[in-house]
Subunit: 413 residues, 2 copies
C-alpha cells in the first residue's frame, strides 16, 4: 500500500506554520509498513485542491488529507473531495451531538457555521474527535482509500492513534506482521552511539535499526517483519539485547516515553515525593512533571527562585553562601535542594541554578549549571554541567539532566 | 509569478524531520509577492522525482528544489533535473575551489565524491554556498525558472537570503510591493471572529484578510499589494481600523508576538514586578515568563503549590478557606495571589488554581479554573473559567487567560 499525504491550508503555503502533520503521519505509516511516496501541500482553493486529489489518486492507493475541516468558509476539504468523487455530504447526528456537548461544556456560544463541521461524506467511516469538533472520515472508492483528518495537531494526532491507525490496519491485506520498538538513550551523542553499534546497523536487515537524534536525546527504532508476531518479537529482542550489552548505561526507556515520565514512574514505585527549587529553569521542571497525569501527587510543590531575594527569604540560602560562592555554585545548589525538600515536606529535593544566557552571570559562562539532589537519609550531591547551547536549549537540557541524575541515584536505593 | 517548492529526501517521507525549508522559503516568497501554490515532498528516487518535476512545471512558473545536492549516491536532484530538461552537467571551477577551501579550513580529508558537488547545470547562475559545499543554481528554460538549493537549513537559508532572493527579484517584472501584517486575538473563537467581520473578508481583495486559529488564539493576516509601499501600508491600516472597531477588545498584538511577550512588555513599561502561585499550571506560567530573554528581572519568583500542605505552609492560605471553600475556589485564588506578592516582595501577585483533569476535584468539573490577580494598591480580583479541553489544553489555556486578564487590568492603571 503506497500513500500520499495532502495537507490543505493556505497558512502552510504562506509559511506561517510547519507541516508537522505530514511528519507525524509519515512515521506512523512507516511503522505499519505503508510506504509514503509523496507529501503535497495545497491552499484553501477548490480547483487546485481538486487537481491535487486527481494527481494523488493516480499515483497512490491511500490519500490522507489533513486540514480544511473547520467551520469557516475557507475550510473546504470535504466539499472538494465530495465533488471530485461524486459523493454526497450528509449530516452526522453523532458528530453534531459531540459538537453541541463541546459548546455546553465550555459554556461558549455555538454559531451556525459550527454545524457545518458535523457534515460527513455519505458512506464513510466516521472517526470521532475527542479533542475538538471536526470528525475525521475514512472513505473508500474502487481500490482507493481516502482518509480525512483535522488540521490542528492536538486533534489530529490522538484521532489518528485511536481511530485512524486501526482503520488502516483493518484495510491492509499483507501477510507480514510489522513490529517496531524504539529504544531511548540520554547522555550519549548520536555519532558516538552509532559508532558503538555500527556493525549491527550495517549487518542487520530484520530488524532494521534506525538512529535518530532529537532534543538532546538519541533513539534507535528497531523494526521487524515476520508472518508470526511472536517471531518478529524475538527478532527485536535479540537485537535489543546486543545493543544494550554495549550501550545499556545510557538507555532509559521504550517507545513514546520521556525522561520525566520514567522518573515519575520510578518515584511512584518507591513511594517518594519531591520538592523543587528552580532558578535558571524558571518552573520548567515542575511544569513538565505536572504535565504527566497522576504525577501531581508525587510533587509536593516548589519554588521558582529567580531572584536572590527569594533564594534567601523563601528558600533560606545563607547570605554567606551567596556572597562567597555566588548563586551559580555547588554550595548554593546543595542548600537549595535540601531546603526545597524541608520547605515542602518532600522526601527528595532537587535544585537547578545556573546561567541560561544570553548573558553571563557572576563571571560564569553561559551554560554553567549546577543540579542539586537531596534524598532523605543520603548526603546531598551536586552535578555540574557545561552546556553550550541557546537559552532555551540550556534550560530544557538542564531539566533532562535533572531527571537523568535523579534516576541514576534512585537506582542505588 | 507562481511558485512550487519541491523538497527532495526520503528522510522527510519517513517522518524523521520536518520540512522547515518549505516554511522558510514560503515566507520569503510571500514577502516579495510570489504566490506559492504547492509544496511537494518526494524521495530520493529518480523516476518519482522526474514525475514530480513534470507536474510542477505544468502548474508553476518557478520551481524551487531543496535537498539532494550532497556527495552521496542517493543525492540526485541535479542529475534528475538535467535529464528531465535535457541539460548538460559540467564542472564548475569556482565551486570546486570553494569545496577545496572548505576542506582546507576544516582540516578534514576531501574524498572523490565531494568533487561531484562541484558539478552544475550548464548555463545556470551558480549560487555560492558560504556555509557548506554544494553550490546552488538558478536555471531558466522557456518561461520557467528552476532554483536548486541545498537541503540543510544552515546552508540553504543564508544562501537564499544572500543570493537566491536577489536572483529572483532580478527576474520579476512586477512593480507591486507586498506588505503584510498579522493581527493577534485572544478570548474569541475563530468562528465568532469571522462572523463579526464576514462582510469585510468577503468584500476585501486588497488587502486580503486571512483568519487562522491555533493554540486557542486567532490571527488575521492582512496582505496588501501596491506599487507604492506607502499606499500598501495605508490600505492595511484602513482595513485594520475597520476590523478593530468591531473586535478591538480581543486584539492583543502584531505579527510574531505572544500573550506572554506582550505582558512582559507592559510590565516593563510600568516598572512592575510579579510573583506567582501556581497550582494546576504547575510552573507553566513562570516557565513561559522566564523563557523570554530579559523578562527574568520582572519575575521575583513564585511557588508551585501542588499540595494543600504547600498552599497552607508556604503560601499561608487559611485552613478555614480550604475547609470551607476548597482549593478550587475564588477565595483560595484571592489569598494565593495576595500572598504570592507579599512572599516574593513583588508588586503584583497572580495565582492559578483549578481542575486540570483528567479527574474532577472537590466535586468541581474538569476545566474549572480560578485566576487571582492582586496588584499593589488595588483590590484583589478573581476570574473564573470553564474550560472544556484536555489536561494539557486546560493548563496552557489557563496561562494564556492569566496573561490576558492581567493585561486588561494593567490597562486601567
Amino acid at each position: 500500500m503506497n500513500a500520499e499525504i495532502i495537507a490543505v491550508g493556505s497558512e502552510l503555503l504562506l509559511g506561517q506554520i510547519n507541516n508537522t502533520n505530514a511528519r507525524f503521519l509519515s512515521r506512523q505509516l512507516a511503522d505499519i509498513g505503508i510506504n509514503v511516496f509523496y507529501h503535497t501541500v495545497v491552499g484553501d482553493n477548490p480547483s487546485r485542491l481538486k487537481a491535487a486529489i486527481g494527481i494523488a489518486e493516480e499515483r497512490s492507493d491511500l490519500v490522507i488529507f489533513t486540514g480544511g475541516l473547520g467551520p469557516t468558509k475557507d475550510d473546504l476539504t470535504k466539499e472538494a473531495i465530495a465533488e471530485h468523487l461524486g459523493a454526497e455530504l450528509v449530516h452526522n447526528e453523532e458528530a453534531l451531538r459531540q459538537i453541541e456537548l463541546y459548546f455546553e461544556r465550555t459554556g461558549r456560544m455555538m454559531t451556525e457555521n459550527n454545524r457545518k463541521q458535523a457534515i460527513v461524506l455519505k458512506g464513510s467511516e466516521v472517526l470521532p474527535n475527542d479533542h475538538g469538533m471536526a470528525p475525521g472520515m475514512v472513505y473508500a472508492k474502487g481500490a482507493k482509500t481516502y482518509m480525512l483528518l483535522p488540521g490542528p495537531p492536538k486533534e489530529m494526532e490522538p484521532m489518528f492513534l485511536a481511530y485512524g491507525h486501526p482503520a488502516l490496519l483493518a484495510r491492509m491485506d499483507s501477510q507480514d506482521k510489522i513490529l517496531s520498538r524504539v529504544l531511548r538513550f540520554f547522555g550519549i551523542g548520536e555519532a558516538m552511539l552509532e559508532t558503538e553499534i555500527e556493525d549491527l546497523i550495517d549487518s542487520q536487515s530484520n530488524p532494521t535499526i534506525a538512529p535518530l537524534a532529537a532534543d538532546g536525546e538519541v533513539t534507535l527504532r528497531l523494526t521487524a517483519k515476520h508472518q508470526s508476531l511472536d517471531a518478529a518479537l524475538r527478532l527485536i529482542e535479540e537485537a535489543e539485547e546486543k545493543i544494550l550489552s554495549r550501550t545499556g548505561e545510557f538507555f532509559y526507556g521504550y517507545d513514546e516515553t520521556s525522561l520525566m515520565n520514567e522518573l515519575t514512574k520510578r518515584l511512584k514505585e518507591k513511594g517518594l515525593t519531591i520538592g523543587c527549587a528552580e532558578s535558571l529553569t524558571g518552573g520548567m521542571f515542575q511544569q513538565e512533571f505536572t504535565s504527566i497525569p497522576g504525577a501531581g501527587s508525587l510533587l509536593k510543590g516548589g519554588v521558582v527562585c529567580y531572584t536572590n531575594e527569594v533564594k534567601e527569604k523563601v528558600l533560606k540560602v545563607k547570605k554567606e553562601t551567596i556572597e562567597k560562592d555566588g548563586v551559580v555554585s555547588k554550595a548554593c545548589a546543595a542548600e537549595l535542594a535540601e531546603n526545597a525538600a524541608s520547605l515542602t515536606g518532600a522526601d527528595i529535593g532537587i535544585s537547578f541554578t545556573g546561567v541560561a544566557g544570553p548573558d553571563e552571570l557572576e563571571g560564569k559562562p553561559v551554560g554553567t549549571v549546577y543540579i542539586g539532589i537531596a534524598i532523605k537519609g543520603r548526603p546531598v550531591h551536586v552535578e555540574k554541567l557545561n552546556l553550550g547551547g541557546s537559552r532555551a536549549a540550556n534550560r530544557s537540557r538542564s531539566v533532562k539532566y535533572g531527571c537523568h541524575f535523579l534516576m541514576k541515584e534512585l537506582e542505588e536505593i
